[in-house]
Amino acid sequence: MEMVQAKELIYEYEKRDEEGNVIGMSRAIDGVDLDVLPGQFVAILGHNGSGKSTLAKQINAILVPSGGTMWVDGRDTRDPDELWNVRQSAGMVFQNPDNQIIGTVVEEDVGFGPENLGVPTDEIWTRVEESLKAVGMIEYRSHSPNKLSGGQKQRVAIAGVIAMEPKCIVLDEPTAMLDPNGRKDVIRTVQELRKKKQVTVILITHYMEEVIDADRVYVMDHGRVVMDGTPREIFSRVEELKQYGMDVPQATMLAEELRKRGLDLPRGILHSEELVEHIMALKKR
């Protein structure tokens, strides 16, 4: 069974003028189909206003579809009786690290989710400890979150989600406000978690480098899914990506330019090591 599945998903909101009168409907998501299998790492790409964040909020039932259906772990997100189950099985990490930390001490913040779920006290402590260890923040457990760097805060936020033991984690542009080091830290943490805990990861981003290892990539534009496939398939369509306002990873870009100048390189090269290998192979011939 799919972990997350969307069929013909539509999300509309009312457009209002300055006095607050409804002047029409705006479609943020327009007929999206999505299939995410358990344990998969799925990336959703798109520039600002493409509807990717709105889609993320659908998975956590913060927003519910205006048309079509969204199932999370087999549950319809529109069913009010399943709301808390949906939110528990799909945890969410947001963009701004400051605005999602509730506790005044790191460990208290990580314990917030389990507290809400009504987990017994002793188990909260073991969960908090395990989650903080998993994201490598255990030595900061009694620190104030205000003293941490952006990347560290984001890892605490991830720990807070893991402590709820979700089957799936949705990360909504978790690195957009971070410096390059923080960005690397967060992505590495997510990768490690995926290996250790076999959780499904849905990463929403506009950084191409972060999606290279994904099992599947969706590209969104104007509320529609315009491309989907493996990273290799997606990044071999450089011209098309550019049309949607997306970049490609640097190695892919360089390979594409070299190919245009007549070098015999395959399409869809993702890593710089890969590019080096292919160039070395050309040289030997």
Partner: protein, 274 residues
């Protein structure tokens, strides 16, 4: 300059008083404050003094920290003392300068009032010095829990308080940033009279409010995403449980109260002064 503001004024130390359950500290502080007003004799004040200084000593909070809190009430204190000193009549006349008279009763009331006010501030600041704001919120929540039956949203109010405490440093930082940004754009915040300076605050407050609302919206979403659904069915990571030392603290405070009440009843102050 804005970073100098400290709220909560917690003094971190490892002492018995710090480790006490916040409920004990709240209740005992209240009892102590009441004890200052139920009696009026030198012996009573002597007992209160011994009790207060003994607790301060046990809390490992330096006395000068606690005395610093008195600065805020110096003016009120002077006012009370002067008023009581000159306006209370009764007993022997002690001093007579022009139209000013100081009577025995006036002297006594003013001294006692001063002591009461000083101990009041010392006692309550000792509580905030030894209790983290979060523990204090937890304690208040648990103490007021019975009000839930009267449909008072105790948990929600406590949650609001603790979130406010978490966001104070963030909003202070943001204010600093906005001020610098406006100064960089040529805003003049330092000169002019008080009206001009108040007007100059508008370009700082507006962006601050906008950003605070945006943060509140984000935070509410993040809390919902983590299954926050009000206080019902919620467990606690750090539940408040009374331990031996908490019961001992209650015992000692109640004993102290009994002594104070007895002193107030059976020892008339006339014996102890003049």
């Amino acid at each position: 300059m804005i970073r100098d503001i400290t709220i909560g004024q917690y003094y971190p130390a490892d002492s018995v008083i710090h480790r006490l359950d916040p409920r004990v500290k709240i209740v005992c502080t209240l009892l102590f404050l009441i004890s200052l007003f139920v009696q009026n004799s030198l012996l009573g004040y002597a007992i209160a003094t011994v009790f207060l200084f003994w607790v301060i000593h046990a809390s490992k909070v330096p006395l000068k920290f606690i005395l610093r809190g008195l600065k805020a009430i110096v003016i009120i204190l002077m006012f009370t003392v002067v008023m009581n000193l000159f306006l209370t009549t009764g007993g022997k006349e002690l001093v007579h300068i022009g139209f000013l008279h100081i009577y025995e009763k006036g002297l006594r009331t003013s001294v006692f009032m001063a002591v009461r006010l000083i101990y009041l501030i010392m006692g309550s600041s000792l509580m905030t010095f030894t209790t983290t704001p979060n523990a204090l919120t937890d304690g208040i929540e648990k103490l007021l829990h019975p009000l839930n039956k009267l449909h008072v949203p105790v948990h929600e109010v406590a949650m609001m308080m603790s979130i406010a405490l978490r966001f104070i440093p963030i909003l202070l930082e943001e204010t600093d940033k906005i001020m610098k940004a406006q100064i960089a754009r040529g805003a003049d915040l330092e000169s002019g009279n008080i009206i001009q300076r108040t007007k100059a605050m508008v370009p700082i407050l507006v962006p601050l409010f906008v950003s605070a609302f945006r943060r509140a919206n984000d935070l509410a979403m993040a809390m919902e995403a983590r299954c926050y659904n009000g206080g019902e069915g919620r467990t606690k990571m750090k539940p408040l449980v009374y331990r031996k030392r908490d019961r001992a603290a209650y015992g000692i405070t109640i004993l102290y109260m009994v002594v104070i009440v007895l002193v107030g009843r059976f020892v008339p102050f006339q014996i102890w002064i003049f």
